[in-house]
């Protein structure tokens, strides 16, 4: 059995021993019932938002790309729910889950997907570029691996300012082979940057499985850089939280970086245009959905804990669906940006003309 981490976190999952009590781990033991319901609700809201945006895409309301987070909800919610006021998050283009997990509301997100001026990026970014600096959420990036050095930079900034915080830098299993990622690993380890690189391994980088993409184990590569690393399953919210807490602590308190791999699964294709029948069997999806659906898993746990009951489950679901529907209505009713908006938000100086120091022309048509 290969070693699953070189950290001594409580979260080691070992097939030969009894399943550890993640719910009882210190990260989770202190959760109130309300908080647990909140976490459950977050996951369900992500699911319903994604489903509603799929429908909107197929109705031609959304253009370009749409990368759905369905099946991975526990990862974003588990990780982001551990954030303190000086912790930061950055991810790649499968970013709707993280956006909702840090607290962004559905209306501006759906409006952004519809390309409306009321979108969280004023319609200028689209699905891959959700940002909310006020919630320490830095996007939303389209080029695989491109966000990883930026994540290291956020950690650098935290450390530079003498704050106790960590930057969770998410990436997919397909990003780990990008040069920029290795450069970021090296800088983080060399300079002890408080960054936790989180590899959301859903098994496939677009249509290419991990086995066909990557040599060796993904998180274990950190050993080459002298960094801590670990692997956990990402379908149990409690497990994700228990596992991540230790690494985040090390980053905050000791400014030590880490690379962690969270095993998860996406039910949908890479993007909505991906028929995903060329690289996996339907049965595989069904298997995961039946046994490891993160929402189902957490629901069962909370029902068992008597934090949830069937009526509340119904209610939360209905509210989530309704909220998603309302966001679609909001997006539909919102106006598109004006042509004159195209050249706004390009330069800080152009957007703040009273403080502009430069002369000359900034635009050329």
């Amino acid at each position: 059995m290969s070693k699953k981490s070189n950290a001594t976190a409580e979260s080691q999952s070992d097939a030969t021993t009894a399943k550890p009590d993640f719910a009882g781990a210190s990260a989770n033991a202190s959760l109130s019932a309300e908080k647990k319901i909140e976490l459950y609700r977050l996951m369900l809201r992500i699911r319903r938002f994604e489903e509603r945006s799929l429908r909107a895409y197929q109705s031609k309301k959304i253009g370009g790309f749409l990368h759905l987070y369905i099946g991975q909800e526990a990862v974003a919610v588990g990780c982001c729910s551990l954030m303190g006021k000086d912790d930061h998050v950055i991810t790649a283009y499968r970013d709707h889950g993280h956006a909702i997990a840090v607290g962004m509301e559905m209306n501006p997100l759906m409006a952004e997907l519809y390309g409306k001026a009321t979108g969280c990026s004023k319609g200028k970014g689209g699905s891959m570029h959700f940002f909310d600096p006020s919630r320490n959420y830095w996007g939303g990036h389209g080029v695989v691996g491109g966000q990883v050095p930026i994540g290291a930079g956020l950690a650098y900034g935290i450390k530079y300012k003498g704050l106790k915080g960590a930057c969770m830098t998410f990436m997919g299993d397909g990003a780990v082979n990008q040069g920029a990622v290795h450069e970021a690993y090296n800088l983080a380890a060399l300079w002890d940057l408080p960054v936790v690189f989180v590899i959301e391994n859903n098994g496939y980088s677009m249509g290419t499985s991990q086995a066909r993409s990557s040599a060796g184990e993904l998180a274990r590569r950190a050993e080459g850089y002298g960094m801590a690393w670990g692997v956990c399953d990402g379908h149990d919210l409690y497990e994700v939280r228990a596992f991540m807490a230790g690494f985040l602590d090390a980053a905050r308190e000791k400014s030590k970086p880490a690379v962690v791999e969270v095993r998860t699964y996406r039910y949908r294709g890479h993007s909505v245009a991906d028929p995903d029948n060329t690289y996996r069997a339907k049965a595989e999806i069904e298997e995961y959905r039946k046994t490891k659906d993160p929402i189902q898993v957490f629901q069962s746990l909370l029902l068992a804990e008597k934090v949830l009951d069937d009526a509340l489950v119904e209610k939360i679901d209905a509210e989530a669906r309704a909220e998603a529907e309302v966001s679609a209505d909001f997006a539909e009713a919102s106006p598109f940006p004006d042509i004159s908006d195209i050249q706004k938000d390009v330069y800080w100086e152009a957007d703040n003309p009273s403080e502009r120091k430069s002369g000359g022309r900034l635009f050329f048509n």
Binding site: E51, R55, Y57, Q58, S59, K60, K61, G63, G64, F65, G115, V272, A273, P275, N277, T278, F336, P337, D338, I339, S340, I342, Q343, F363, N365
Partner: protein, 426 residues
Amino acid sequence: MANIIEMPKLSDTMTVGTLVKWLKKEGDAVKSGDILAEVETDKATMELESFFDGTLLSVFIPAGSQVPIGAALCAVGKPGEKVAAPEAKAPPAAPAAPPDAPPAAPATPAPAAAPAAAPVSKAPVPPAAADPAGRVKISPLARKLAVEKGVDPAGVAGTGTGGRIVRADILSAKAAGGKGGSAPFAGGAALGAKGPVQEEALVPVSNIRGTIARRLLESKIQIPHYYLDIEIDAGPLLELRAELNAALEQEGVKLSVNDFILKASAEALRQVPAVNCSWEGTAIRHHSAAHVSFAVAIEDGLITPVIRDAHLKTIFAISAEAKPLGKRAKEKKLAPDEFTGGTFCVSNLGMMGIDRFAAIINPPNAAILAVGTTVRKPVVKDNSIVIGQRMSLTLSADHRVVDGAVGAAFLAAIRDLLERPSLLLL
């Protein structure tokens, strides 16, 4: 109302889909997430998923149909629910403002920053005179100046690369009174006008003016000019001319007074060949041929086209040659060998009303004949006063080559030929 399920957009480039196979039939129960049918897109075969619970109430299109995105495929709802009859629905109207997703995009709107399409010229540009060789090459600045200054670019000599008319050329043309055309000094200002005499300007010297200035200054400084005047009876000349022109009108012959003078000059040079020479410092060159040139006023200066071998040509030939030469001279289209190489020059200001004048010798010639206008004045004939037609001719001669007696002899020959003009018909 039942929910209508439409052909969905399943890829970013899809425009139509083919419903390959229905997996449910009318009356079947349907749950949200169930697959209703297989749909083929431009990229792959995908599954049509139901987002609604209920019963499949109606199927609108058969398997195998290819329909555009947005076309109604089926209805899912509660049994017995009313199903809205689907019209052939066009894809949802794309928003007017931004470009739609590719490829069925409506016209991309022009960016607000772009100025209106049709360029508006600020001032009407006068059309260049029809140029058989092609368009007038002129810089934008010169074109603008031409309009401002009322100069017609056609006929302005271009000194820019490739003969392009540039600013300096327009300014020179203007200073020369340039509207182009044959009478550079015609068309004066209104009498009693109170404005400035002309625009105050420092006009750069054009090539042609510079050349004239240089050559004639040289001539005046280096050649010891002296001047001989005669006054001839132009009557016989004018009579013969009128006779010939009347008789030969059909043949398109129109002899000018100047043609007679050119012919007379050539013949006089034959009689007094000492005038058909050039000073060359330590020697005097005697020219065997009389190439007679005549001065033509052009924009910003003058030029002297040459009748080569005038001593061998009839007056008719000379006339036939001189006319187009003069025209082309005014259009600045003379080739260098057409205005160089003359051995003698005739300068005629008669048509400008000048009684008499003395011209400046054209180096390397030894003399130049200046012709005045024909004046009706009283003369003595057979001891009575009659009205005569008198024309003044002045010979400027280079005393290094042509002494006074030689010059006088030359002028005597001219007089003889012009006063017995039928001799010029030989």
